[in-house]
Amino acid sequence: MNSTPVITGLGVVAPNGIGADEFWRALRDGRPALGPLTRFEPNPYPVKVAGQVVGFDSSDWIDPRVVVQTDRFTHFGLAAAELALRDADLDPAVVPPLEFGVVTASFSAGVEFGQQEIQQLWRHGPEHVGPYQSIAWFYAATTGQISIGNGLRGPCGVLVADEAGGLDVLASARDDVRRGAAMLAGGTEAPLSPYAVCAQLGFELLSPAADPTAAYLPFTSRAGGFIPGEGGAMLVVESARAARRRGARARAAIAGHGATFTGPRCFDQSAEGLERAARLALSDAGVEPSDVDVVFLDALGDPEADRAEERALRWLLGDRANRIPVTAPKTGYGRCYAGAAALDVATAALAIEHGIVPPTPNIRDCPFDLDLVAQARPADINTVLVLARGLHGGNSALVLRSPASTQGDD
């Protein structure tokens, strides 16, 4: 019988906190971390607000030799991986190297580094482009650097599916730990350079609002797009058996996953795909829709997309749809693309552990018939459903369960 995969370490680098404890306090208190986009000056773009990671110094976390070769998204990933390993109290050196791997999700990759080098090319010529451009921009750069830096020679991969990919990596890691000892899984993003922001404008889903408290209001009558954020999370995934053997605390069990595809730029049609992904995930977990205690929403902030997500929940949960608490803590720190879902998984694990549903900051007037949580709410949480959609049409759902509810499964 397969051993249940469990999360034993959380590594968070987010606009509202670095480290799981700081992150959780901000989530629990509904403390928003959106502010004016200041990563570049002046900002002439129709995006005024962002979720920026503050107080992050790459030299605190990363060998300076690696810092010069890598983009900010990899700096976040390396720091998050380090935090996750510390949180799991797992020294990679004690794990057989072929049994420890890493899988990350990325959507923007090394855009800021790429922009610097393109500027060099344009201003001064090709001989001014540095050799590290060849590796820094790459989607798999973070996976590669985490693997090299920690001596992980197990399964390595990268998934590019926007926010959906941030859930899919957990499913990938889950499958890998069934054959090995441990995986680092998650995603981080740094999409706030001018070039990266320009690339996002084409989605026509970014909120142009200037007021940080009113810029990202999914599931309200004022929904007008989302606010981009940077950062993300890396998580240590082990089999329950491996975790128990070394006396590690399981923070949550990865119980089920489902993924579907409904095509790019048709979020209005994503209800069926989201519902099916959720059903697949629940069936994979061996639980019923009625077992779901909390739903973490994708919460794109586009009126049609929000309606589709509400429809998916109604189809899935039936007349319980307005009684199961739903939340989207990302309204407080921005939608961090692939990093967003990894942060939601970390949040779900923390919610299970603390018995608290964190609120959806800034949201007051939800006209949908949903129990959208506005203030932190104590709850006995055994089963969490996390939903995510990718901007190119992927839908993904992950079911996390409290470690207690899956004990004895292996």
């Binding site: 010069v68 070769q69 001014h128 540095g130 050799p131 590290y132 060849s134």
Partner: protein
């Protein structure tokens, strides 16, 4: 705009800071003068050395035909630049 500084002699300290900037490896001028440590021993990989060489070619007139690999030391490179090798 960037202007090549072809006629400037390159001091050990300047080369050390250029290597540090390009590769992230902390190198001091004294290390360049005193030690015969190779780039590899200092922790500079081939991509890093490529970046150092490109900058020296651009700004200090190092001919593109000069072949330096990670078995050489920064001191070897300095001697080449001074035309003393």
């Amino acid at each position: 705009m960037h202007t090549p500084e072809t006629n400037l002699p390159l001091s050990s300290i300047t080369l050390a800071s250029l290597i540090s900037r390009c590769t992230g490896v902390a190198v001091t001028g004294d290390q360049i003068d005193d030690a015969g440590q190779s780039f590899a021993e200092l922790g500079v990989d081939s991509l890093g050395l490529l970046g150092v060489m490109a900058q020296l070619q651009r700004d200090y007139g190092l001919p593109e035909t000069v072949d330096v690999n990670t078995d050489h030391s920064p001191r070897d490179l300095l001697l080449l630049l001074d035309g003393r090798a």
